[in-house]
């Protein structure tokens, strides 16, 4: 704890770096996941197949996946960001599909029956109804990404993980381990509660 108080600037910079890496990956993942989810959600067979395959990919440990990406992207932050996009992607697609598939078919029929076109149905019916589930996906993806980005420090992606790995490498620097653990834990918990609050705000009133 004292390490954080002694080096507030450094810890803050690392946290910012951590957030930038995570945020960038999340942004790419969301842009990809929405169209993919929308595309496969109505095709149940295809959705099951793709979700199964993505589920297996998700099982691969993050450190292993980053290493497996090194031959393609090199031993640098790019491999970490690509891995982050892949994991976030899986969570987001899963939740977009779940959110859309959970919509009562009768509601969709009613919307079509009222003469809405595909775009109107998406904006006015599907998105608002699926939003809480999609936001839950964003929250989980953020938490997972924060965790993986911590490991990413070892692959020169920077972030709060640096403190943890330095603490291990420099014998006796347990203060750095504590500082890194507290900072990254606090970051994850704060984002988790913030996004959970956002989720509640957008929840469909029942």
């Amino acid at each position: 704890m004292s390490y954080i108080l002694d080096n507030p600037g450094l810890v803050f910079a690392l946290a910012l770096q951590h957030l930038t890496t995570t945020g960038l990956a999340l942004l790419v993942a969301i842009i990809l996941a929405l169209p993919i989810g929308i595309l496969i959600a109505p095709r149940r067979r295809l959705a099951t197949l793709i979700m199964g395959a993505l589920g297996l990919l998700y099982t691969i440990p993050s450190i292993a996946l980053i290493i497996l990406l090194i031959p393609i992207f090199g031993l640098n932050a790019t491999s970490v960001i690509v891995a982050l996009v892949i994991y976030a992607q899986i969570i987001l697609v899963r939740n977009v599909v779940a959110g859309l598939q959970a919509i009562d078919p009768a509601v969709m029929d009613a919307a079509r029956g009222m003469g809405m076109n595909g775009w109107q149905i998406w904006w006015r019916i599907q998105l608002p109804l699926a939003l809480p589930v999609i936001l839950a996906g964003v929250r989980i993806a953020v938490v997972v990404a924060i965790g993986i980005a911590t490991i990413g420090a070892k692959f020169s992606a920077g972030g709060l993980g640096k403190l943890l790995f330095e603490g291990i490498a420099q014998a006796g620097r347990y203060d750095k381990i504590w500082a890194g653990a507290i900072a990254v834990g606090a970051l994850a918990l704060a984002l988790n509660s913030g996004l959970a609050a956002l989720e509640r705000a957008f929840a469909v009133k029942t």
């Binding site: 099982t59 440990p61 996946l65 994850a188």
Partner: protein, 210 residues
């Protein structure tokens, strides 16, 4: 590069086998302790709203903290040892098993439980003959999540002296050699996939017909 990694693996086959064994041992110990602790705890929380509110919330918060942080925090207390890694991995195994056991028992239809008591089953018989078979699939699903998590995080255990397949990763970083990194990464990926598939099959086998 994969070819070079394969050659390295063949050259260090004994070491690879020993590391795999230790990786599995670490994961099994953590998972075993996790099950022994969390299944009874889950039974308790599912029956007590107060316990559930406290324990489940604590565990959910624990789940959000990055595993690397939890793993490395074991170091100051237990040193660069197997024990250190085993304890940290056990902590990572707790949340999914506990949460799933709790949820599984909560979803048992109260009418089924009432019928069981009404037929003259003892507390123990209701738990063992009715609730356990009904909850088993969801509990195993929690064990599966925990197993994959532990199997993955055991790779990081090498950083705190826990051994396992992560030793190739630490060595790869030390020597700045991607080939050696891959020798750690590929078996770990395969192990987690096998764990995931095996436990999925088990989970399916014990599922209650609907």
């Amino acid at each position: 590069m994969l070819g070079q990694a394969f050659a390295y693996a063949v050259a260090h086959l004994h070491e690879l086998i020993a590391a795999t064994g230790q990786h599995l041992l670490l994961a099994t110990v953590a998972l075993g302790i996790g099950i022994v602790l969390c299944v009874p705890l889950g039974v308790w929380t599912s029956r007590s709203p107060v316990a559930a509110a406290m324990v489940i919330n604590a565990v959910n918060a624990l789940r959000v903290v990055p595993s690397l942080a939890i793993l490395f925090l074991a170091l100051p207390y237990f040193g660069l040892t197997f024990t250190s890694s085993a304890i940290a991995l056990t902590i990572l195994a707790l949340p999914p098993i506990l949460i799933n056991t709790d949820a599984a028992l909560r979803t048992v239809n109260p009418a089924v439980r009432e019928a069981a008591f009404g037929m003259g089953m003892t507390q123990w018989q209701v738990l063992w003959r009715v609730e356990a078979p009904l909850a088993l699939s969801v509990v195993i699903s929690g064990v599966r999540t925990a197993a994959v998590e532990v199997m993955a995080s055991a790779t990081l255990a090498a950083f705190i002296g826990g051994g396992g397949l992560g030793i190739f990763v630490t060595r790869g970083f030390a020597l700045y050699d991607t080939t050696i990194l891959l020798v750690g990464a590929v078996p770990v990926a395969l192990l987690t996939l096998v764990t995931e598939l095996g436990l999925s099959l088990l989970q399916r086998a014990v599922r209650v017909p609907v």
